[in-house]
Amino acid sequence: MRFGLSDEQKMLDESVRGFLSRALPLDEVRRLAAAGSGYDAALANGLTEQGVTGIIVLEEYGGVGLGMVEAVVVAEALGYAAAPFGFAGACVMAPLAIAKAGDDGARSELLGGIAAGERRVAVDFSALAGTTGAAELTLDGDRLSGTVQNLLDPGAATDLLVALADGRMALVEADAAGVKFGLRKTVDRTRPLGTASFDGATARLLDGGRDVAKDVLQAGRLIIAADSLGAGQRMIDQAVAYANEREQFGRKIGSFQAVKHTCSELVGMLEPCRSLIWYAGYAREHGMEDAPLTILHAKSHLGEITREVSRMATEVHGGMGFTDLLGLHFWFKRITFDRQVLGGPERCRSEAATLQGWAAA
């Protein structure tokens, strides 16, 4: 029994974090947020080299062939860096959907492109996730019609993967005839959401049944939760550093019990979240029975905790935290975004109740 990352996983973590900290100094985050496309070729190429785009794609299809524990480690690093990069949808949900519900043709045609960073798939699972702005879609044979407004990871997307309420999934090329695809600015300028309307667009049907679609959604929720863990950790690290530096009343503010205790509380709230995320990643990777429940809690618990973290860590910075100067708000907004997409805490808890038979379906 060992609860912790393996040496290889630690190396992956260090490598991705090292790359991100060099690639994304605050000024670069700022520049990419202002551009607002949710994508940067240089950053994406670097992450592809790090194996991030192919992290869960099997080696036979050109991927790295790792699992969900590695994926959550990467997600945390991306959240920590406030990376303008689509991971949950484009690098986890999409390849998972294709691997599980696609035929051999689809797999060999698409997965390699995803791993190579050449195919970037935006995903919308609102029809299943219980979010506002649900997809309204119909599939007639291979013809897709309707609208979506919550496409995750739409930056420079080449393909769009959408889930219908009955669990069928459809993959459409973003520039295909009958597709109108665009970005909408969100409060997190590093990550827009996508909107699309389909008018009888030709789609590739991925039909593995509702359970498969739900499973893909759960994987996405776990990754988003891990992303918010990284964002929360970043805010705590910044709060602690600031408390060690700023002086008022002739003292370091960290010497005031109110500030010191706030920082302690933050760590007390967030650190167990990391264990929850790791466990959920492991449980899912190993097909353990409690994986779905753990993931639902990961998404809802992280949503709650990180909201508190985002407020309290900002408070430690005083007026400075409310300005744009320190850039702290990029992480505040990342946390705001992560809480809402793919189903918020209330929704995930209500699914958890149903899953355990505590509430009628």
Binding site: T132, V187, E315, G321, D324, Q340, E346
Partner: protein, 403 residues
Amino acid sequence: MDLEYSDRHKALQQELREFAAKEGHRSPKSGGGRKRPDRKTLDWQALLLERGYFARTIPKEYGGYGAEPDVVEAAIIADEFNKAGLYPGIMNQGISMLVPTLLEVGREDQKKQWVETTIRGETIWCQGYSEPGSGSDLAAARTRADLDGDHFVVNGQKIWTSSAHYADMMFLLCRTEPDKPKHEGLSYLLLSMKTPGIEVRPLTTMTGRAEFNETFFTNVRVPASQIVMGRGEGWRVANVTLKYERMLLGDPNKLLYRLSRIRDLMERTAVDGVRMLDLPEYRERLLKLQGEALAWKYHGMRLLTDMANDVDSGVRRLIVKYVGTMMGHRLSSLAVDVLGAAGLSYDPQGEDKDDDEATTWHIDYMYDIGLIIGGGTSQIQKNIIGERGLGLPREPKTQAAAR
């Protein structure tokens, strides 16, 4: 306790309902506060003043309505405006903070000169308190004002000055007696923002807008008569203003109004075809907040009664800023959760145009964090509640809890 509606109260209620029906269409949607009031808002403000629905208890000679304080009347007005969705009048730093300060400690000529134009929304004020090195430790302010003949000459820098980019006037906390101990060396000056030597540089906040500024002073000449109370009494005046600022920041009417807007939002927003109001987990949150807000409303009435009777509310008042701003945060948190993924859209229009609903709530959600910090942080409030309100000893090696 006497909350019985007298005939006068019933008549006022009736009058307000007629007013809402007849004049309601003239109400601006929002206004004041974060931007200079437009014509529509100013006209509405004038109407409210004339009817006594605003500044009701401010004496007539200063442009108010001159009524005796009456909590029930105040509550009726707030209720009816809230129910009818009418804009209750401008709240800004001049109206809610400087005016009551002048009424409490200002000279007669200062009241005459400033109260009326300020409550009409015509004169906009900003607050020159914080400096880069003195936020929580406000009394450490270093901006100097040296007497030169019949003028003070101001040099230094303020920061986080909300509205300075469009304000007409500033109330400034500055050091006039550098040789005296920290708290005794300060004075409180009123000065025109058009005085030569003032430079205002916008500071962008987390909302992406520039709601506040850095303000620089280079040899800014202020007539010596524009001091409130005397030299060295600035700390006392500043604390009078802070008292009103903190009441403003915890205002129950604002929170009740928000609550009703969230209820509307929950009625209009659905997930998988179910209205949010019908989803127990969201309805529970709304109901909990309703309970908090009701307690807060009645707490506010109690404070108004204290004030009308010149009773020191003590700890009851000291909790207002901390509790009220945290409630504000919980309310806007619920709103952004109801808006959910679809409502992550964010596209602020700047200060002169209206924002869409999602953007407005996200601005509030972020601004609420600012309000938790501004006007004395939550930590400072809790120090004050403990030390001044409950008589607990100070932390070792700190000076008096400032702000």
